[in-house]
């Protein structure tokens, strides 16, 4: 069929709850090219996390398949690294150890001990966290934890980086800093990224394409929007760019039409 790098083909997911089943996703199709940054936006509870977890291999598909680099996804693995919403660092390990746990697992036998150490520090440097390498997660701020989570994921050298509302729990300023960091890293590494968000500005500013999901149950893809903004993008200039304004307008229009408020008004 398609020759896309990441291909989500006719994916349906149902959860069995006792005797009745809940259909969360139905016949969902999405193609992502290598190096693309794609955001998924939709109302809370529509099935965004479920979709991301299917790509990660954490949730099995009921129908259809996910194909990454010509291989069907069957189980979780480091080539599809996930950054979870609530950072999910192991609290009994230091920042360094959290990253090195991943590095030692993925690169054992491929890199020497010294090379693995350098690789941990390199990825901590990418997210500007070398200064806190020996700290424990409880000793650093929420934004810093999320940075370490990103470093841990990047350190696995994943084919696709999966971000589940990575900045959802952060204040606006920290959020903006992290978004800039992610844009810088993406510009440098050109990795393929699938990011869930419910923030319209975040989606438009960071993505090449914004995928809008319909409401559940049995959610699917409503519209896909190409963001016609050249890179590198700068937050301030982008906000007044006609392409940014148009994209933002389209996404908000899509979401508003499907919000509970709009439906009761109609």
């Amino acid at each position: 069929m398609s020759k896309a790098f990441l291909s989500i083909e006719h994916v349906g997911v149902s959860f069995a709850r006792g005797s009745n089943t809940a259909e969360v996703l139905r016949d969902l199709n999405l193609q992502v090219n290598e190096g693309q940054f794609v955001s998924i936006i939709g109302h809370s509870g529509c099935g965004k996390s479920t979709l991301l977890n299917v790509v990660a291999g954490l949730v099995p598909v009921t129908t259809g398949a996910v194909i990454l680099d010509r291989v069907a996804v069957e189980e979780p693995g480091p080539e599809r690294a996930v950054v979870f919403q609530n950072h999910s660092l192991l609290p009994w390990l230091s920042v360094y150890e959290n990253v090195s746990l991943a590095v030692n697992k993925v690169f054992r036998g491929k890199k020497t001990r010294a090379q693995r150490h350098d690789w941990v520090m390199h990825n901590l440097a990418l997210v500007q966290m070398t200064h806190a390498a020996q700290k424990r997660p409880s000793e650093i701020s929420g934004g810093m934890k999320q940075r370490v989570g990103i470093a841990r994921a990047l350190a696995m050298e994943p084919k696709v980086l999966l971000l589940d509302e990575p900045f959802g729990a952060l204040d606006a300023l920290t959020r903006a800093h992290l978004q800039d960091s992610v844009m810088e890293i993406h510009a440098k590494l050109r990795n393929t990224v699938l990011m869930i968000t419910h923030d319209v500005d975040e989606a438009v500013l960071l993505s090449d394409r914004v995928v809008m999901m319909t409401n559940g149950p049995a959610a699917g893809i409503g519209e896909v929007l190409e963001v016609g903004l050249s890179r590198p993008r700068r937050r301030i200039e982008a906000h007044s760019h006609p392409a940014y304004v148009a994209a933002r307008h389209a996404v908000i229009g899509f979401l508003y039409a499907r919000s509970p408020a709009a439906r009761t008004a109609a």
Partner: protein, 298 residues
Amino acid sequence: MSLPASQLTPALAVEAPQDAAVVLMPRDGRASALSHLGRMGRGLAELTLPPIVVLGLILGIWQLIDADGAGVPAPLTIWRDSHDLIVHPFFDHGGTDKGLFWHVATSLSRVGFGFSLAAVVGIGLGVLIGASKWAHRGLDPIFQVLRTVPPLAWLPISLAAFHQAQPSALFVIFITSIWPVIINTAVGVRNIPEDYTNVSRVLRLSPLEHFWKVLLPATTPYIFTGLRIGVGMSWLAIIASEMLLGGVGVGFFIWDQYNSSRISDIVVALVWVGLVGFALDRAVALLGRFVSRGTALG
């Protein structure tokens, strides 16, 4: 303790105005060291003084209302009757005629052995029924029933099985202290946040790596809750079972003194039992805090 000296001096000035010469030099290292010592001393006093005062009051009232010494002897009577036992805990005249230290040490070594065994087996079984749905369904109801059996009810069974006092006592310790360890470990395993399991799955940790690097650290606080309850219960059980089994041990010592009507000696032994039980509880709690430092959710 990293407060600059200048911030400490006002407090010192209020506390110790007679040290005028020191107060006049705000950045004197000696001043901050002195006030530091002063604060530590005060903290210690706040901690130890109230219980000592209350203890004194209790002993005083006890002495007053129990002056005739009939039944339970009064504190001064105990001091007179059991003077040798109190001041010589280390004597050893052979047989069961030993100082209290040796009785307590024997009881403690039994607890140490039986409880260590219970800890290892209990954590293992707890992980099993926490991690496996079928093990949980099969074993949990049985454990819930068995754990309510009083420790001493196991003694006849274990005597029938082992025929000897020593292994029977150990078995009673084991069977008494294992339940809280199993149950708390299982709860801990079932409560491991899904995020941690997901990290382990994405990294494709092997079952052994998952056990050592995720499951055990995530469960440590629960395990230590179980161990702490268990060690307390095992101390209760050893005293009771020694009373029935005889030989050296603080439980039998109490029973033996009762049979020779030396109530004063029993009171002294009770103080030992209480202090050792308290120390055991604190030791496990401290070890738990040390081992699971940083495990608190960040």
